[in-house]
């Protein structure tokens, strides 16, 4: 079997405040194969985002190990892209210089990278808005700009922390379809954190159900909708969609 891109082994972490210690996650173990799409679902406040913060190196695990390509994570992994809940495009920069922000921070702005960004902007319909201010873009376009900002780093692994939760429902469906397709097209490996079960099933190949805080893994469910080359929107029409939905709903509510 191929070595997984990312492997978490028995990871645990507690938050420390003057009021005491709160266990956030414990005994988390899972693997993500190259090109895979994993969704983490769980009750709100269960520590889903903590897991992403651990993977991208913002937090250090107190227990266990996180391996990337079989070796432990470096201090500042540069091959991981992180998409936050909001797009956080800076209003004092143009759309284009917002997209350059990540590369600029990592001091990796080169002619090839710029060409790559230009290509992405054309492909995803933002090339006319290069010099626009973020406030001139629609919600969906802003989210796409944020994705291009992340993709510009050419990360091996994409972390998506409820990136659609700030959007209204219709935009949300469209944008998640958009972004799901872009990620497939660019052959990226991704981990999505969400509390939306439908979103998880429609986008991911594997759904990991977490328990209440401290988060532990309740179940790992492989999604097979028997639909080749499915897109997130089309997936919602698959006959098996409802079955998976009910199964995950049951797991979350503790009567499976």
């Amino acid at each position: 079997m191929e070595k997984p891109l990312l492997e978490l082994k028995n990871v645990g972490l507690s938050y420390h405040t003057p009021q005491g210690e709160t266990a956030a996650v414990s005994h988390i173990s899972f693997q993500v194969p190259k090109g895979g799409f994993v969704a983490l679902v769980g009750p709100s406040g269960c520590g889903k985002s903590t897991i992403l913060n651990l993977i991208c190196g913002l937090l250090k695990p107190e227990e266990g190990q996180i391996l990337m390509n079989g070796t432990s994570l470096p201090e500042k992994p540069s091959n991981i892209g992180y998409m936050l809940q909001k797009d956080h495009l800076f209003e004092w920069r143009t759309v284009y210089s917002n997209i350059l922000l990540g590369l600029e921070t990592q001091k990796r702005v080169t002619a090839e990278k710029k060409a790559y960004i230009d290509k992405l902007m054309v492909t995803y319909g933002l090339d006319a808005f290069k010099q626009a201010r973020p406030s001139q873009l629609s919600g969906g376009m802003r989210q796409r700009a944020a994705l291009i900002r992340t993709l510009a780093l050419e990360p091996d692994l994409l972390l998506l922390d409820e990136p659609f939760s700030a959007l209204d429902y219709q935009t949300r469906l469209n944008v998640s379809d958009d972004i799901g397709r872009i990620i497939k097209q660019e052959k990226k490996t991704a981990i999505l954190v969400t509390h939306d079960i439908s979103e998880a099933i429609s986008m991911a190949d594997t759904v990991i159900v977490l328990t209440r805080r401290p988060a532990t893994i309740k179940n790992i469910i492989d999604i097979d909708l028997e639909m080749p080359d499915r897109t997130p929107l089309a997936s919602r029409n698959a006959p098996l969609f409802k079955t998976y939905f009910n199964q995950i709903w049951g797991e979350l509510n503790g009567h499976a």
């Binding site: 936050l84 004092w92 990540g102 921070t105």
Partner: protein, 272 residues
Amino acid sequence: MAMHDLQKISAAQEKYMKARKKDRYLIQAARLLIFLAFLFLWEISARLSWIDSFIFSSPSRVIRTIVDMTLHQDLLLHIGTTLYETLISFFLVTILSVAVAVLLWISSRLSFILEPYLVVLNSLPKSALAPLLIVWLGAKPTTIIVAGMSVALFGAVINLYTGFQEADEEKLKLIYTFGGTKKDALFKVVLPSSVPLLLGVMKVNIGLCLVGIIIGEFISSKQGLGHLIIYGSQVLRQRYIRSGWNAEVEWQSCCSAFSFPLLTSVSKCFIL
């Protein structure tokens, strides 16, 4: 049809723009009118002896005095001196307060240690500090500039530091997810997002610096508006004595109270 629609819209737009323009003119006219009415009332009440023009003066007298002082007492030199000192201390306050606020932001431990000192220094009565500054540093223009800075500096540091702390946590996190350092966070998030705050603080500071400069000039100076105010009040006192007035001290303070805001706003007009 579409053409017709377009014209219709532009007519409405034109109407809107006209109304807007009219509104603007009205506001400016009203402003000017208030000022002129005030001058008129002042002049009239002085001429008709509703008020004692010797104490309250009158616009025509003020203009005559300004012309007279410009010709014989180098009023422009005094204004220039105060302006120059104010701008220097304003410039230094801006640089220094941003630098200190950045230091505090970089090290939260340092800010915890220094916080009580900042609050105490800020609440210090600066006008009481001015005589001490002159004793410590000597009667030099530098001292007056330091006096000007002392009024604005600590408040500016506190305001800027508080603003820096309010930078969006998530935006900072974004920088850190790119593998950015604290320096990246500072230059890419904290400073750019604090530009409106900085402008606000600067607006307040220019006024505070002027107050500090005038206080400094009151106490020790050879030129500047503060020097003029003190000089004027002393001359006025002699006149009072000659006119047989007894309550000199009261009128002196009254005079300073009147001339001070006037001079402040005059020099502010020059600056802004």
